[in-house]
Symmetry: C2
Subunit: 263 residues, 2 copies
């Protein structure tokens, strides 16, 4: 029996004190396949398979102490995620690439992906709109007063990455109407207009299933997972100036950062 | 025409300098519905609708300057996400609750959700397993040497929240075999066993579609979105001691934090 198949099952409430005391039981292949898929996902997203081709199933089976069937099922999971494909005569090849969006510092998309290529923005809509109460409240403007609304489809090297809905107070927003929004992060424009750097942002991240229309705009498959980022950004002086609702294609973006235990 | 329907469409490359210079064009209702749904999502997840009932469609239409059809389509989007339901004679009610997982400090699940209820863990599997190369490399142990593997389904107040796959070096892991893993965060046990606090963790967050088996284990709908967290946690002295692959139910968890502009 390969090593990964020998893993022991915990009896739940037994408080055994030695490894040997734990019962062994065959785990479902689906559980073993998920475990292997997670390890392979990390490898392929880190670019470990330099030529973009995964080792043969038999090599993976030996390397990971798994059965061939478990390896096949793990590769099926990665294929369903759109990360790999099987190519006749070549094997299993990496077809998706995820780009790392920094979680440690407040950065615009072009800034954080600078080394990965060029970010361009298709401005789908831009103009003043009466601020609904929750927008007005968070941006600190009177409810119903106009704010600038911008809707952008953002691409990296031509590939759709995210759909961004942005609200900006009009006193700052007006100056953005003539700016080069197609090629410039809003963050950078805000700092130029306000004459001061940004300070901080409160963010919330969620995983949601894309609705049909959002998936179509992002050119993503039906039912694709979306990494949803809500972000309220403040200037260095504390004033809130940018409320955003961002849908990232789940298959193209990872958020990476470092957390510390002590505050 | 309601205000939100009057929003202007940007002509793309025109560098107009005044609001008035922007063309107006009817936007797709799907775009307006998404915009409204994002605002309502924030409201309902923040608990603004204290009795759990959303205002009547006509009230929402007036409040948000949207047409009734746009409001209905926005509520459809929230319903598809599993956040609201329509109840005959009552209206649209909030049915899902998302719990905020801190992104600012390294915390275990029970710690971060302390004020929201009791976290319990169903240990599905626990035992030593030969470390595959990528696990060994990241935990700093010889490849093939045994590490402790733990698989837990974690619940908050009985509701499944996450499926966690955990690897721990065996010198520390052995002491965990007799511990109360059902009711205690691994983080806390690691600190007790190691006799020092945790230091930091490298994390990666992704949105993925749950495979059939993972969805079933999490009792989530087929094709549900999952917030996937990969985390390598180090002790205060820098030693890596805990490699985890965590699938959070997207409809039950948000990650919240604060980002600063300057490093």
């Amino acid at each position: 029996m390969p090593p990964a198949d020998r893993i022991r099952d915990h009896s739940g409430h037994a408080a055994a004190t030695t490894v040997a005391a734990h019962r062994t039981r065959r785990r479902l292949r689906a559980d073993r396949a998920r475990q292997l898929a997670d390890l392979l996902r990390h490898q392929l997203l880190s670019g470990v398979f330099a030529d973009g081709v995964l080792p043969h199933e038999s090599v993976l089976a030996a390397d990971y102490g798994a059965s061939r069937n478990t390896v096949r099922q793990a590769l099926d999971l990665l294929r369903a995620e759109g990360l790999v494909q099987r190519q006749p005569g070549v094997g299993t090849v990496v077809v998706a690439r995820k780009y790392p969006h920094g979680l440690d510092r407040l950065m615009g998309l072009a800034e954080t992906l600078r080394e990965h290529g060029q970010v361009t923005n298709e401005v789908r809509t831009m103009g003043p709109v009466p601020a609904p109460a929750p927008v007005a409240g968070r941006l600190g403007v009177p409810p119903g007063s106009d704010v600038l609304y911008i809707e952008r489809l953002r691409r990296l090297n031509g590939l759709p990455l995210s759909l961004d809905l942005t609200y900006i107070p009009l006193d700052i927003g007006t100056a953005l109407l003539g700016a080069d929004l197609e090629n410039t992060d809003v963050f950078r424009l805000l700092e130029a207009v306000a004459g001061q750097p940004l300070g901080h942002a409160e963010i919330t991240l969620e995983a949601v299933t894309a609705d049909t229309h959002s998936a179509a705009v992002l050119e993503a498959p039906h039912g694709a997972a979306v990494l949803m980022l809500e972000r309220l950004t403040h200037l260095a002086d504390g004033r809130p100036v940018d409320l955003e609702f961002i849908r990232f294609r789940g298959d193209r973006i990872t958020m990476s950062g470092l957390l510390r235990r002590s505050p």
